[in-house]
């Protein structure tokens, strides 16, 4: 598609895309290829990286393989990021679309509702939700989704407000199309590019949020994630820098890649920024 082509001309975005694809592959296939369980104590604790060729990235406080943690953690970080973003979209898009399309008191009511969620400090809310429903992938994902949908709703509402009086939408109304059809077929496809851009950045933010929650000890204890690794390693950061360093870098790279792709998409999808006609 033309978006992909445009993306591929943007070297930086292409780099981000390649990194991202690599990470996704690791997340999907890593655990099958790298069978050491990240929980298994395979060697002495605090084995520095590069010392043992089987354990390139060393071992943690309990002699578990750091590389295994990274490989298994990729899955959960990406999954939490993706799913929470998806949930946020599922809440934010319909809400914003309804508000923006119908306007009037519906808009007013929905926006007040959104405002409530925006007024509560989001990170604090996430912490409380996770703590209250006890840390698990589900509660973490939902908490992240719950605090990240309002911007989506606002964005979509804004787009709908702008587009609902576009002439092609008016034409659809004149054609006697139902509101549902107009929302879904006429307007929504045209709001996709900013939504996609936003979503790509939201995944990045969600990964950061997950790691921050884990850092505070609010991670899912059942599952290896990068955030958990840093959280667990922070107390030994002085003895074993590599324990928090590698997952930290992994997060930073993932978030970076997502950002690069997001920005690339933004440039490819937003003609205002595509910079061709600039004066």
């Amino acid at each position: 598609m033309s978006i992909l082509r445009k993306l591929s001309t943007n070297k930086v975005a292409l780099f981000g895309l390649i990194v991202l694809v690599f990470l996704v592959l690791v997340a999907i296939f890593g655990p099958y290829l790298y069978e050491t369980s990240p929980w298994k104590m395979v060697n002495r604790p605090f084995l520095p990286p590069m010392e043992n060729t089987d354990l390139m990235l060393g071992t943690d406080t309990m002699g578990r393989d750091v590389l295994a943690g990274l490989v298994y953690g990729a899955r959960i970080s990406l999954l939490v990021g993706l799913i929470s973003t998806m949930i946020a979209l599922l809440i934010g898009v319909p809400l914003g679309a309804t508000a923006g399309y119908f306007g009037g008191w519906i808009d007013e009511a929905l926006m007040r509702f959104t405002e409530i969620f925006q007024t509560v400090p989001s990170f604090a809310l996430a912490i409380v939700i996770v703590a209250i429903f006890e840390p698990s992938v589900y509660s973490i994902t939902i908490a992240i989704a719950l605090v990240s949908w309002p911007p989506v709703a606002r964005l979509v509402r804004g787009e709908f407000l702008a587009l609902r009086n576009q002439e092609y939408v008016l034409a659809a109304r004149l054609n006697g199309q139902t509101n549902r059809n107009i929302i879904l077929r006429e307007i929504l496809p045209n709001t996709l590019s900013p939504i996609i851009v936003m979503a790509s950045l939201m995944v990045a933010t969600a990964i950061l949020l997950e790691s921050a929650l884990s850092f505070l000890g609010l991670g899912d204890p059942e599952i290896m994630s990068w955030g958990y690794m840093i959280g667990a390693a922070r107390t030994v950061i002085r003895q074993a820098w590599w324990l928090s360093f590698f997952p930290g870098v992994a997060i930073a790279i993932t978030v970076l890649a997502l950002n690069l792709v997001g920005e690339g998409l933004n440039e490819a999808l937003n003609p205002k920024l595509s910079g061709k006609r600039e004066s």
Partner: protein, 327 residues
């Protein structure tokens, strides 16, 4: 300021209060959904407890009453601006929060001003060197800081500046026991402020830098900038007199939204740097199930958000003559 503006502000405040009210009720139920209660936590800490002790505590906290009654008590007190007593510290929630709020405001305020100033500056530099190496360098740096977990950065900063270099204190807000007064105290607090404000601010610096850059580039394409150039102005003058002011408008909006959120977002920084602010207070209150305190912190920080949003709107209105504070 016209009477309309005053009415507008009053209207906004009332709306904000309504929102806060709903938030308070929402939070009330949210927090009660958590397992355990403050009595259990205290009993747990005591290392020994029996039902009598728990019952005593619950009675003391009013937790033996039915939930709807507790809500009623809470709300009717709240309406009179009374947030109740903390269970642990046994002092008025409001006093405790006011004790801690200045620290948070100092931290977030400094970080905010720092990041806004620095971010805008860097963004302007990047935009005026659009597509040159310095632009790329700034963009990459901003992206990296944007992508790096805050807490990780904080840990690294402590490691470097406090432990290895020994330049800056690693925790707390002032040197305890030194009893500095006047200027010395200011310097002391400033020293303590550097690291937390820096870590908290770096992320937002990156945000503002990116935003300013985009906005500057976009505004740079506006017609009035062309007009300004056609007047024969120097590029620097065009940038500062015309482009920047207009480009700052979206940054101001974002900044206003984030200024409020920063308070809640300071939890991590306050934890790592032992900064005695309300973020930490909230975090502790949560684990101690100190309902009143937790609700109070939420209420106050939400109120801050409402307030900051209003202030942003007012600033926006002052900066942009097109906006009228009505509706």
């Amino acid at each position: 300021m016209s009477i309309q503006t005053l009415f507008y502000i009053a209207g906004r405040l009332i709306k904000g209060l309504l929102v806060l009210f709903v938030i308070a009720i929402f939070n009330f139920f949210l927090i009660r959904a958590a397992p355990g209660d403050p009595a259990k936590v205290m009993a747990g800490e005591a290392g020994a407890a029996d039902e009598v002790f728990l019952q005593q505590l619950r009675e003391q906290f009013g937790l033996d009453q039915p939930l709807y009654y507790q809500l009623w008590v809470y709300i009717s007190n709240l309406v009179q601006f009374d947030m109740g007593q903390t269970y642990r510290q046994q002092m008025p929630v409001f006093d405790l929060i006011m004790d801690r709020l200045p620290a948070t405001l100092l931290l977030t305020g400094t970080a905010f001003v720092l990041s806004l100033g620095l971010g805008v500056l860097v963004g302007v530099i990047a935009a005026s060197n659009h597509r040159k190496w310095i632009d790329s360098a700034i963009s990459v740096a901003a992206l990296v800081f944007y992508a790096t977990p805050l807490f990780w950065l904080a840990l690294m900063a402590v490691l470097l500046f406090s432990v290895f270099l020994g330049w800056l204190p690693a925790f707390g807000m002032e040197t305890v026991g030194a009893n500095y007064t006047g200027w010395d105290r200011v310097v002391d607090i400033a020293e303590h402020l550097v690291l937390p404000a820096m870590t908290l601010g770096l992320f937002f610096t990156a945000v503002y830098a990116r935003m300013t850059r985009t906005s500057m580039i976009e505004t740079g394409r506006a017609d009035f900038v062309k007009t300004a150039k056609a007047k024969g102005m120097s590029p620097a003058r065009v940038t500062f007199r015309h482009t920047l002011r207009n480009a700052l408008l979206p940054v101001v909006t974002l900044a206003g939204l984030q200024a409020g959120q920063m308070i809640g977002g300071a939890v991590l920084t306050e934890t790592v740097f032992a900064w005695p602010g309300i973020g930490r207070l909230m975090f502790e209150a949560l684990f101690q199930r100190d309902y009143n305190l937790l609700l109070g912190v939420f209420f106050i920080s939400s109120a801050m958000v409402v307030l900051f949003n209003l202030v942003t709107d007012i600033i926006y209105c002052l900066v942009d003559p097109r906006i009228e504070l009505t509706k």
